[in-house]
Symmetry: C2
């Protein structure tokens, strides 16, 4: 199914180095995905079959000003990978980061999809029995209501084409379940999503969810602004780690507890696999003309292989086309997309799209 | 130390009924706090010594429009308890909710402290080894930078006088640690808190924290707007519950795991006590001329006794005076407090204090 798909992979942002990314690419190549790997060829021990290595020794993954680094370094591994997609030599890109650089390069070279206000970062969170995709987790720190409306349909199209959820349940994150709860932006978005969802079969709008319900299976997709989403994603990560640490402490606190911990260990291993953030492949950059995936820099080959395989699934599932179709059927495309606008990531339509490539958050981390 | 303190307690909002609240009042009375208990006297089996029961059968804890219910029902148990404080017959109040009704009644009858823009709800979260107080968790869904600045000093004064932390480390919740990260409101608040904290010995401003760090001991007090804070508080609750549930499932998944779970159980009990949300007593309503505490309606007598005892500690520790002093020393009092303003919870100073008693969030829950 994914035999025809080519994924451009930037090996520059991986903490474990380009060889680990190449090993992930090899796993994906074995499953039928063609990979163009951009990275420091001298640090890649052996080139797996099905993987083409393009030497790009310069990494800008650690640059603090991501947008400036992207502009200044067209030869960097991430810019080359993104440009391969823009040139039609690959169908999607995968980069270990930084997220800010991926967002900036995507906006500069691939451009936003027609009629889309803002790209958004979506992270599928592996909650046992209640997986949920959260967006935006940091691309847009401040949003308008019509941005949140688009995120709802972008998230639904993603859940359909990449995660295989036929009619995703989409919720809006707020401080109460009632439609009147939330900031003025959230209240306006609620009304608008409800209205547009009624006319669109692609998603089921389940209304507002509170923080308690995000990991309780209340929805498949949870929509919020990039500030709240980033805080929420990192809180989920922090609280999970804290609980695991506390229970580890409990399980070594007395000889009796130690014995119990040893007996539990094999069963806990399965649980750890279930909540492994590498499984979903990372953060998905939605709203461009092609799909981008940003695995966390600390991921192993498994996480990179998942990112490549899920990017390929997004291509065969036509996440870009479905996103456009979902927005169009819901009447949620931006009113006056122009050719000029399409060529400027900063927006030439007079809208206050303040999330220019100079301020994408580079702080997003996969959970 | 707390012998002279009188706490007005509303028994109307407790899920377990007024007798449970009376039992909590008895525990506090034994420790030297005088309690005036407002509730349905016919449902209170025996009146503990040190507790005066004032019959107030009407509860508005379940009313959806809290502010309207407060206005319409001066005889309700919560309004009577709050008015006892306003009249000087008690020093602080405790109410099992609703939070919205407590906020509205506090604003109407006790009034905001002089120079304070907005009251805020603070919740001490019992993280093992890294307790943290989060504010605002829902009183102000939308805030200005100067509101966040005041919350920083209000939270610090609370941590000093109620939690006994000498020089609290205060952080601002954001989507990145750099001072430039966050919404425009957060960025402006960061600059202002840093500037004012440098001139004030009462707190140490540790800058921005991300979601990951909230429960990792990075700060004693974490400041945010009521929307993000409410989402964060409930996420902490939801993720903790999810993790406990998942580990319970693991510990019953195989005979071997079951045996391990049984051996661990005694040690886990201590951990559960450590994270018991009843320990810190609930949510604290800061910024009024007297302290209010809102234990969760589902709390047992232990939680109500903690709320009463900690309210009394806030009185002897002079949380109200310290709050004013902290704001004054930092130059963070509102510029032109007027007599008219003090009598109107809606603000008569021309500032857009939109958090009128008609829109306090009634959805806040203790963790």
């Amino acid at each position: 199914m994914t035999e025809q798909v080519t994924v451009a992979v930037d090996a520059g942002g991986a903490d474990l180095g380009p060889s680990e990314v190449a090993a992930g690419a090899a796993i994906a190549a074995e499953r039928g995905v063609r990979v163009k790997l951009f990275g420091d060829a001298s640090r890649i021990d052996s080139v797996p079959s099905g993987v083409e290595v393009i030497d790009a020794p310069l990494s800008i993954a650690k640059e603090p000003d991501a947008a400036r680094a992207v502009r200044a370094n067209p030869g960097s591994s991430i810019v080359q990978a993104v440009r391969a997609v823009a040139a039609g030599e690959a169908d999607a890109f995968v980069s270990g980061g930084s997220t800010g650089a991926a967002l900036a390069a995507g906006l500069f070279d691939i451009k936003r999809g027609r009629g889309i206000h803002r790209p958004a970062l979506a992270v599928p969170i592996p909650v046992p029995g209640a997986p949920v995709t959260l967006l935006d987790v940091g691309a847009n720190v401040e949003v308008r209501a019509d941005h949140l409306v688009q995120f709802a349909f972008m998230g639904a199209a993603f859940a359909q084409s990449v995660l295989g959820i036929e009619r995703p349940r989409v919720a809006l994150l707020s401080n109460g379940e009632e439609a009147t709860k939330g900031t003025s932006v959230v209240v306006a978005a609620h009304e608008e999503i409800a209205r547009r969802a009624a006319a669109s079969p692609i998603l089921e709008f389940v209304g507002n969810v509170e923080g308690t319900d995000v990991v309780a299976g209340a929805a498949d997709v949870v929509v919020t602004d990039g500030f709240t989403g980033n805080v929420a994603l990192k809180l989920i990560e922090g609280v999970s780690q804290m609980m695991i640490g506390a229970i580890r402490d409990v399980a070594t606190s007395t000889p009796r507890a130690k014995a119990g911990g040893l007996l539990l260990r094999p069963a806990l291993r399965g649980f750890r696999d279930e909540i492994d953030p590498e499984g979903p492949g990372g953060a998905y950059l939605l709203g461009l003309r092609r799909l981008g995936v940003v695995p966390h820099g600390r991921f192993t080959r498994f996480g990179f292989s998942q990112a490549i395989l899920l990017a390929a699934r997004g291509v065969t599932g036509d996440v870009v086309g479905r996103t456009h179709g979902a927005l169009e059927s819901a009447g949620a495309l931006r009113a006056r997309p122009s050719a000029a606008d399409a060529n400027s990531p900063q927006g030439a339509d007079g809208s206050d799209d303040r999330s220019s490539p100079s301020d994408p958050s580079s702080t997003v981390s996969a959970p």
